[in-house]
């Protein structure tokens, strides 16, 4: 019997090592797998490369990981916000490396990784400082920048409901990067509000088929707060 359920968040992240590359879902706090990140902090892995849209909001999630000094490098589109103080402090102290990627390129590069593409010519960023030094090409009169897939050893995401095969549905805009991270990470770990019996999810409405998911942890208390 296939059963991807893991008893606790601690078990789910137990093999994330120092120096790992970890892709984390969430746009702001929506979809941020706070409890998986807490477990990762408790586990103690450091020197991590993190991929997320932001660089942490408030005190929980990616912000906590940065606060605790576990992040060597962050790849994101929008680090600076009113409540990104933990990132801001580390960045100004030169304690964290930042790779800034336009959000659409971030999404497309994650999707390309999941789909097995070698590289993509994307329209965004051409002629800007974020494309400096990158290969460009004019195709049918439009200029494109060559961008490479963003892969990760681990993906940590939050979904609404999941079953033992790893099929997932999400909730509202907490879906955001979840489905494409699930496809791009070698080991995708999901915290779901509710683990449901196989067959409870309508086959027409599964958003992430279980093939993209390796571990599922049910964490019932996980409602989304305004700020971490």
């Amino acid at each position: 019997m296939i059963d991807k359920q893991v008893a606790t968040a601690a078990d789910a992240v137990a093999d994330i090592q120092d120096g790992s590359t970890v892709m984390i879902g969430g746009f702001g706090t929506a979809g941020m797998p706070d409890q998986l990140i807490e477990a990762l902090i408790a586990r103690g892995a450091g020197n991590l490369t993190i991929i997320n849209n932001n660089a942490g909001n408030g005190e929980a999630g990616v912000a906590a990981l940065i606060r605790e000094g576990r992040v060597k490098k962050i790849i994101c589109s929008f680090p600076r916000q009113s409540d990104s103080h933990h990132f801001d402090a580390r960045y100004r102290a030169d304690e964290i490396e930042l790779e800034l990627v336009p959000q659409g390129n971030l999404a497309a590069r994650i999707q390309a990784a999941g789909a097995g593409l070698g590289a993509i010519f994307t329209p965004t960023g051409y002629g800007t400082s974020l494309a400096e030094g990158k290969e460009t090409r004019e195709i049918d009169g439009v200029n494109y920048v060559l961008e490479y897939p963003i892969r990760a050893e681990f993906g940590l995401i939050k979904a609404y409901r999941g079953d033992r095969w790893g099929n997932l549905v999400y909730r509202k805009t907490a879906r955001n990067f979840g489905p494409i991270i699930a496809m791009a990470a070698r080991t995708t770990i999901v915290q779901v509000d509710e683990v449901v019996p196989l067959g409870s999810l309508d086959p027409e409405t599964v958003v992430t088929p279980g093939i993209f998911v390796q571990r599922v942890v049910g964490i019932p208390a996980a409602t989304t707060n305004k700020r971490g």
Binding site: F27, Q103, A107, T122, Y126, T128, N176
Partner: protein, 211 residues
């Protein structure tokens, strides 16, 4: 001269958004445009974080923090709206499916170059978000901004000095004094506020402006 305040600017932009348009309103000033869309006009607002058919803010206390906009504010979903993931959301922009985006700006050049993501100041933490994707992806990119900085320099310029968001992507700029069409042929004044002449604008901006 009867300069428009920010609410009036938003109302002016809203007038140009037609029935049935798919529109993304950038964070900050452009968000206000939503408040002035005529209620008898169906306009579908897209939010980059995976939402089409965005409705107004919920009543205080009714917020659902899984339902937010690009500025991380709580919003609602209109009847007929839907959710999707980030790659599909940016495919909407980059694939040319969005009719209009409205963005704020630090500077816009007469040829349509846009600078709105980074001041380039040393020590400033850069953040680009979806600005570059929107700027080059929407069928029409509209900018709304005050024409002058606080110290009186024109934000409509011959050539941007701030780091660029996109090349030649802005087709029209709405300001507190005038509306300009931009393009490879330069800037053209579409309309001015009461008491403002094209020559006034030429003096303020130092630009060659078609009247």
């Amino acid at each position: 001269m009867m300069r428009l305040n920010r609410e009036e600017m938003a109302r002016r932009v809203a007038q140009d958004i037609p029935e049935g348009a798919y529109v993304n309103l950038g964070i900050g000033l452009p968000t206000k445009v939503a408040n002035y869309l005529p209620v008898d006009r169906e306009v579908l607002l897209q939010s980059e974080n995976g939402l089409l058919g965005m409705g107004p803010a919920p009543a205080p206390g009714d917020e659902d923090w899984d339902l937010i906009n690009a500025g991380k504010q709580a919003v609602t979903l209109l009847t007929g709206g839907c959710y999707f993931h980030h790659a599909d959301s940016f495919a909407m922009m980059r694939g040319g499916h969005l009719d209009i985006c409205v963005l704020g700006a630090f500077q816009v050049a007469v040829n349509g170059d846009l600078a709105n993501w980074h001041t380039g100041e040393p020590g400033a933490i850069p953040a680009v978000g979806g600005a570059m994707d929107l700027a080059i992806g929407a069928k029409k990119t509209l900018v709304m901004m005050e024409l002058l900085t606080r110290d009186g320099r024109s934000k409509l310029v011959e050539r941007c000095s701030y780091p660029l968001t996109g090349l030649g992507c802005t087709s029209r700029v709405y300001t507190d004094m005038a509306v300009f069409d931009l393009g490879s042929a330069g800037a053209r004044v579409v309309e001015t506020v009461e008491g403002c002449s094209v020559d006034d604008l030429r003096n303020l901006t130092g630009l060659v402006l078609e009247g």
